[in-house]
Subunit: 348 residues, 2 copies
Amino acid sequence: MTHFELSPLNQDLHDALVHKIKLKTKPQGALGQLEAIALQVGCIQQTLTPTLINPAMLVFAGDHGIAQSGVSPYPQAVTAQMVLNFLAGGAAINVFCRQVGMQLLVIDAGVNHTFANEMGLIPAKMGLGTANFLHAPAMRMDVCHAAITKGADIAKKQLSRGSNVLGIGEMGIGNTSSASCLMSVLTSVPIAQCVGRGTGLDDVGLANKTLILSQAIAYHKLNADDPYLVLATFGGFEIAMMVGAMLAAAEQKAVLMIDGFIATAAILVASKIQPMILEYCIFAHRSDERPHQALLDYLRVKPLLDIGLRLGEGTGVALAYPLVQGAVNFLNEMASFESAGISKRVDA
Amino acid sequence: MTHFELSPLNQDLHDALVHKIKLKTKPQGALGQLEAIALQVGCIQQTLTPTLINPAMLVFAGDHGIAQSGVSPYPQAVTAQMVLNFLAGGAAINVFCRQVGMQLLVIDAGVNHTFANEMGLIPAKMGLGTANFLHAPAMRMDVCHAAITKGADIAKKQLSRGSNVLGIGEMGIGNTSSASCLMSVLTSVPIAQCVGRGTGLDDVGLANKTLILSQAIAYHKLNADDPYLVLATFGGFEIAMMVGAMLAAAEQKAVLMIDGFIATAAILVASKIQPMILEYCIFAHRSDERPHQALLDYLRVKPLLDIGLRLGEGTGVALAYPLVQGAVNFLNEMASFESAGISKRVDA
């Protein structure tokens, strides 16, 4: 079992960063959330001149036994097909990563398909999909811990290549069901309020999904005390690996960008293991997946985008990344009132 | 007086664009507002493969007589100082335009300062600031029409250089006061609900600004019938020029990106002249300036960003521009279900 040693966000430069932001040629606070991000990234990197180096998007793919219970309108085969689409460069996340200059890494965390030696796929298969958690834990505890460790190793390897900002995304038919159960048990919000339409269930499909997940929750009778047990019970392989990657990234003081509902469920698990992780996170967007807002509220975080995305893959991260660049850039490049010869407020 | 001949958005390719978007390898609607923008830009450009060419940000700067009445915590001199900051490359809009690859054009629409032959400043001065509209119209009607024509000429010149997307921003101490009055008269919303803190008024300052603007509204007793008269009465030179630039851009079927509260007040005026203009607009962000939400609601538009910006200069446009790029890119670059060999919905 991998232990993670997270530090609280170092605040040594907090006041100096606030002061630097205050002197920029703009009304105070006029850059809104970008100012908070500039401060956060400066504190994470312990510098008044932060930089974003070799940003990388880690997309973990895995299959879910619960998909056999009709919780998604798409067949399980789509997970593997989409992995091949990622590798061919044709998915939304490919387009957006190319646009914003993020390196894309695709990890097979446990897809129910035996890939040939696919160019570019990072092999980390924990199995051919999880067990159906309707009647059994999704994975054994030792497998869960191994997945966390594997995810951590993948993140650390990327950080060792010089990346200091990691986006975390996923692909897995059925994984909103895992995320909903993780949310319900770990936040004590009733499961019905944690369920959404996923890839596009209609009303009957949504009611069916809610019923099935209610049965799963009732069957396992877990409480929030042991996040590892909750993760092993409901989690996908890709979610466990995301938890490990997130914890390792924060441990090594990377900037961590969190995508939508499933990635937020992973950070919820990670925050139950190490609450300090949230200080290293930038939340990319509010997903259209219904329970995401409540989950963000629970974590007391405000994401950058709210444009109706509900695709996963890390697409929200890639689309929000230019805003984080903007935060770093204004901190580094804007003139100060003094250097630009701008008059101060009349009442200042 | 310049007459503008706008066409309604050509819908010939509407169904073909919807179909193309529908075939992309993602659940339907999963890219949220980006899908609507892909459709809109495709219709504007009349193609299934739209492109964004030489995007340009036009920042119009002007001074306002009302600034003498204590409606801003900053002295009027800041307008000219910030223009020099733009020209030196040190303002937020410089940073963000550089980041996203937008060309920045700074226009002196009527700053209360005689600039030397400043490198890069586009001269279009209509006067050394407007008259104080507390007791007189801000400008004569013929000057207002000349400013509209000048703004149109500047936009057309940029379009003739190959730009097909224009962002419209502004700088002018006191111009939230103009925008508030334009909004109140043209939307019939009481002035008190159209006033915000601008560059950062405290409660007393806000109450004083509201009182002064109420007096101005009561003095002029205008109704919404004649948008030109309302514009000449309350508008800044830069706002009149923005109206002209916006109308010319839409006339020539450019994609038009609208910044914050003042730019939205300008598009309100433009929409009273030619309602079809809204079909060519993408609204960049919801400003933290309080009345902006009500103005966006009045126009029935939903902006892309909501991150607490209240800086103007076009900063919201530059920060939102990568999302528009993302919309165009996914339309052009994503694989289709068929080309990628992805299974369709079980119920499809």
